[in-house]
Chain length 376, copies 2
């Protein structure tokens, strides 16, 4: 393993990987049509169902989250299908953009940082028939978790398909996909599952599986991928090293236990929010919907985004994310999912505190870490 | 690096990887929107142009060869476009199947093991207008290289677009894409470039780049990928570890020199064909078009495919490929591309000879390796 200096790596994905995951990739070429790889695929399938908390059909695609979304959208929807996209951030916008390619879709928008309002969804669905609704469960761009259970109930009551971007939610936020009746749920490998970037997984309800049609994108044909995985195979050449790393990351999830991982992620989020308050800073999103996997924080007056992140990185080897699109320069974002520990998070907050102080933001030394200590 | 017993790994892809390539993947998570990864992408772009011997636009996709083909087909063609698919094996059949999704395509078929006949292509193009023609340059399923320069001339004379599957050709077979006027050329990472499976690269002519339209597949939108790479970026999350390995594999190609790699691949192929003859076996394809990257060999009477490959693997740790589709049980295939050495190939042939002898095929001991020795 190449020696790379340790960094406090607090992006909302990719996230820190366990050495076992990193080492799992470093193996000679493996025949993806041979017996060993069949064993890998069998284990990946079972562990993917575990991560999704489902008994239904799953696929693992050699392509990142967007590939997973396209697989679900192009496999379930057709041109002419009316689709309602719930939009309140950059990733729900992308979901809408994707749906426009494969269906006739309408965006129901909410201000960035506010949650999707179930009553508005109900009103929209009462006034117009929709074949499907899409939701970005956890909006990584604003650090907000949408009220999925409430929205799911409305969608179910209106008998529409419910397609959910769970890219930064699955494995980090409580998930009852079967009870809620989600029809398609998509996750990315490099988020709460703490594997390298480059894979995505899709879980379907049984009725959604039955509805898959063949006029879909070719490489991400979801039925082909699900049916192949059921036989420990892939329709096209898989990204072998990424599957090996993904399996190892899922084994780590299973060893920790899904419920435990989710509870620990919540504790980390509470610690992060306590740290934010102790620094005299404000969350960006409506705090009732603040995400447990990503914390988005408003810059205090006078703190320049690019200068802040440059100092943080150069002097403290700490990497956080800036804002995207309309939030560029206004917020910064911290990921605390996957195998992130309270020590990682405290190290990050210590660096943030020092950097803000050096840039003129008045803060009591040690306040953030102290506030977090009681939380974990 | 995990300790895995050494195998003579003679598949027509994935192929043996250099330890530098394997180790390049084993690094902690890297921010794919940060400055280091921009450097990776800049180098990958330049080295990809080198591998394609082009000065034109290139893209590297986080998806295997089929994703690269779909990017070119869905970006350049539209429903209603008349396309002529030249089909003489499993992979040209898949290319045809893909084109049927995105255009109105017709297959011009040739027997498996025979080359695409330029005169037939000319006749087909004289009798009907086609917007595009597709060719699988090196048919991995039959071990045959199609006469690309001759076909390119005909396509050019008829002013059609020429889309070429170069998945097992680029980096192993002499390539004059700019002189021949290829409009799209696709390669897979795990073949002649000897990187792990999971990436594909696409090179376009300048006129093809100008013709890219937006009603394409979403994740493999070729214009988005090309334009992003030109700015050291990617439109969606890239498979970071695979890009690091791909860069290292391309560096190795550059260090060896493209012309040298191609000449060495030819020498290996000549050695393989000499070995086949010395074993009293026959090539499957028309030998005038025998591929320099993959050798396909007919089984002699009485040799059972699955038993042969099982013994070869269990007793000699040597892995070769069987036949696909209609050729299942009739042929076996050996890859000799990328960083494969004459020693790897001789070790493989020694194992093949011993296995065939044990199964009752009469052969002079040491004949294959002896015949190959004079060739390299």
């Amino acid at each position: 393993m190449t020696d790379v200096p340790r960094e406090a790596f607090l992006l909302p994905g990719p996230v820190k990987m366990h050495p076992r995951v990193i080492e799992a990739m470093a193996v000679p070429a493996m025949n993806h049509r041979g017996p060993e790889f069949k064993e890998v695929l069998a284990e990946v399938r079972t562990l993917t169902q575990y991560a999704f908390a489902t008994h239904g059909p799953v696929a693992v695609l050699s392509g990142s989250g967007t590939a997973g979304l396209e697989a679900a959208v192009s496999g379930l929807l057709r041109k002419g299908d009316r689709v309602l996209n719930l939009v309140n951030g950059k990733f729900s916008e992308r979901f809408h953009e994707l749906c426009q390619v494969f269906s006739t879709s309408t965006a129901l928008t909410f201000d960035w940082g506010t949650a999707v309002d179930p009553a508005s969804v109900a009103a929209a669905m009462d006034s117009q028939d929709y074949r499907a609704v899409t939701l970005c469960w956890n909006e990584t761009s604003t650090g907000l978790t949408n009220p999925i259970a409430e929205v799911a109930k409305i969608v179910k009551d209106h008998d529409a398909l419910f397609l959910v971007d769970g890219i930064t939610a699955v494995g980090g936020i409580e998930n009852r996909m079967e009870a809620w009746g989600l029809d398609a749920l998509i996750v990315g490998s490099q988020k709460c599952l703490a594997a390298p970037a480059g894979l995505s997984a899709v879980a379907l309800s049984k009725r959604a599986y039955e509805l898959l049609h063949p006029e879909t994108s070719f490489y991400v044909n979801l039925k082909a991928h699900i049916d192949a995985l059921a036989k420990e195979d892939t329709p096209f050449t898989p990204a072998v090293p990424l599957f090996l790393a993904f399996r190892e990351a899922l084994r780590l999830l299973k060893e920790e236990g899904l419920e435990h991982r989710i509870a620990r992620t919540r504790t980390l989020a509470e610690a992060a929010r306590a740290g934010v308050a102790a620094l005299g800073l404000e969350l960006f999103p409506d705090r009732r919907f603040a995400s447990n996997t990503v914390t988005a924080i408003r810059y205090p007056p006078g703190i320049d985004d690019s200068k802040f992140r440059k100092i943080l990185r150069a002097d403290h080897r700490t990497i956080v994310a800036g804002g995207q699109a309309q939030l560029k320069g206004k917020i910064f974002r911290i990921g605390h999912m996957g195998i992130c520990s309270i020590e990682d998070l405290q190290e990050g907050f210590r660096a943030i505190e020092t950097t803000l102080a050096a840039m003129g933001h008045r803060v009591k030394a040690g306040a953030a870490v102290e506030a977090m200590a009681g939380r974990a």
